[in-house]
């Protein structure tokens, strides 16, 4: 019997597979398709203090083996998420990782303090890497000192372990990872989307109303894998890896690169059943590769 369970700060995962934040809403749509209790965890859509209506449309554009999005953190706000979405999710036997976003340190602190008290929120994912909001977001994730200070501030108020979501839009991601480690982070989630754009060849105008958007999907997997590999070798923090994961072998790759668990993002839009399908295939694939557990695979590439 292949053991898929993974233990991480705050999280006892049945298996290492979870939907990534922003690609799964608050679970309601996917709950109509399958039992969410099958998932290792759920990373819910980013929550801000106040409700946000997001960016103008078009908000998405397809690119070669990927897509751009600039949703703009649309969400019902802290009160709406805690009062309605999280309560609804309590019916499932699955730990929730709450994605926290804001434009100021005070925003992050406020959301972290309150949302971490929800009974089913077992960890926070601090979104210092959203490329699609005009203030905050990515600006917290591109300077090591700012990232460290924000980590400390959030750690001071959170009732659950804190994972920091890193941006790939930096020259040295390891320096940011080390900074949040110093700031007391319990783990890292990586990577967020890569900033990109697409033009309409007829008019020359950007396709996305926000002009730029975050690139995701299979196109970014090599970048994500390289970054997970580098960060896992140079910090001691556990990593939830993501970026272009679309099938079981992609998940194997991220574990091998040094991630302890794997999040699936854009692939949920293409195949809404992708998470349970990867979970179902994982034991057989591990067995074929000669591993008795998912845990044995973590960081395999470092040992070669």
């Amino acid at each position: 019997m292949t053991n898929l369970a993974i233990k991480l700060p705050g999280l006892e995962l049945k298996n290492p597979i979870m939907p990534a934040s922003g690609c799964f809403g608050f679970g309601k749509e996917y709950a109509k398709l399958y039992d969410l209790s099958q998932l290792g965890a759920i990373m819910i859509k980013a929550t801000t203090v106040e409700m946000r209506l997001g960016n103008p449309t078009p908000r998405v554009a397809e690119t070669a083996s990927g897509m751009l999005n600039a949703i703009g953190l649309q969400n019902p706000g802290l009160e709406g998420v805690m009062g309605s979405e999280l309560t609804w999710l309590e019916q499932f036997d699955v730990p929730i990782i709450a994605n926290v976003a804001g434009t100021t340190t005070e925003d992050y602190v406020e959301v972290a303090k309150q949302i971490s008290t929800s009974p089913n929120v077992h960890a926070l994912e601090i979104n210092i890497s959203c490329p699609n909001v005009k203030q905050g977001g990515i600006t917290f994730g591109t300077d090591p000192d700012v990232a460290r200070e924000l980590t400390q501030a959030v750690k001071a108020v959170s009732s659950v372990p804190v994972y920091i979501k890193l941006s790939p839009n930096v020259t040295n991601i390891v320096s940011i990872a080390k900074a949040v480690e110093e700031g007391g982070a319990d783990g890292i989630t990586m990577i967020n989307t890569l900033l990109g754009m697409r033009l309409d060849p007829k008019t020359g105008r950007p396709v996305i109303a926000n002009i730029t958007g975050g690139l995701s999907g299979p196109a970014i997997k090599p970048v994500a894998l390289r970054m997970v590999y580098e960060v896992s070798r140079q910090t001691d923090l556990p990593i939830i890896g993501m970026g272009g994961v679309a099938d079981v072998d992609d998940a194997i790759d991220f574990l091998s690169a040094g991630a302890s668990a794997v999040a699936v993002g854009t692939a949920n839009f293409v195949n809404p059943f992708v998470c349970p399908e990867i979970i179902e295939k994982l034991p057989e694939r591990l067995h074929e590769l000669g591993f008795g557990s998912a845990e044995e695979l973590i960081g395999r590439s470092h040992r070669l």
């Binding site: 922003g22 690609c23 409700m51 078009p58 397809e62 990927g66 897509m67 949920n268 839009f269």
Partner: protein
């Protein structure tokens, strides 16, 4: 219930310039609830192109377990879809969205369509006629070469065609025809470009109307927040075209 199913292509033919009629077979048809719903098609098994394509259902037949889509081949995705041949498999997610409320029409309905918004009105017209409701079809196209299903609509009721270049029917837009027609109907249903939907709403402020909207989509099931529109209800109210619509009562969506 929403399903993801590998369906089988029964037939595919070009019925107007770059307009294709594609019929597929599979159990997913049993779950279709109303005219105006759509499906989300994966045109390739590879990651290129990556996303699904939302395509409206033009007609369905539960006994035969078949449904028909009509689409314009104009981009990478739909050009690949146009290459499918009978016997090929097709990855279909659906049925998605809420269709037209046929029960809202009492005696006579206007069905107003533009271009590739015309197809869902065909199943709608069949459903309305099945309930004994008189249907009048007002359909707009770019030019004569883009016109399709004129004879099929004529079998179901009065049918008026407008073309932008005047090469067939009335020259201009559907609104030019609407101006000439009596307002003796109790409900209208419309699908087409946003500008057309706006014009139709303005033409009949006092009538009960239902409009099917189009918006660039990601997931098609309401999770990704790509296809949102604001509403007239309040500053902060919004709808998702894919899962709350695509059909909305006239006067609700700010487009």
């Amino acid at each position: 219930m929403i399903r993801q199913q590998h369906m089988t292509v029964v037939s595919q033919q070009e019925i107007a310039h770059r307009i294709f009629e594609l019929t597929v077979e599979g159990d997913l048809v049993n779950d279709m609830m109303a005219p105006g719903q759509f499906v989300h098609i994966r045109v390739a098994d590879s990651y290129e192109p990556l996303l699904r394509r939302p395509i409206s259902v033009a007609s369905y037949d539960k006994e035969k377990r078949q449904f028909t889509m009509i689409y314009r081949a104009e981009g990478r995705g739909t050009n690949l879809l146009a290459e499918k041949r009978p016997g090929d498999g097709l990855d279909v997610l659906g049925p998605l969205g809420n269709g037209f409320p046929v029960e809202e029409a009492a005696k006579k309905a206007y069905l107003i369509g533009g271009g590739i918004g015309v197809p869902p009105l065909y199943e709608l017209s069949k459903a309305l006629n099945g309930r004994g409701i008189e249907t009048v079809h007002i359909l707009g196209f770019e030019s004569k070469s883009a016109v399709f299903y004129e004879a099929k609509f004529k079998e179901l009721g009065d049918t008026h065609i407008a073309t932008v270049d005047g090469s067939h029917g009335t020259e201009g837009f559907v609104t030019h025809i609407l101006n000439e027609l009596p307002k003796d109907f109790d409900a209208y249903f419309s699908c087409g470009p946003t500008a057309m939907l706006e014009a139709v709403q303005w033409a009949y402020p006092e009538k009960k109307g239902f409009l099917s909207y189009e918006q660039r989509m990601g997931c098609g099931i309401g999770a990704c927040f790509a296809c949102v529109c604001r509403t007239t209800k309040s500053e902060t109210d919004y709808i998702k075209v894919c899962s709350d619509g695509p059909v909305f009562r006239a006067g609700v969506v700010i487009s």
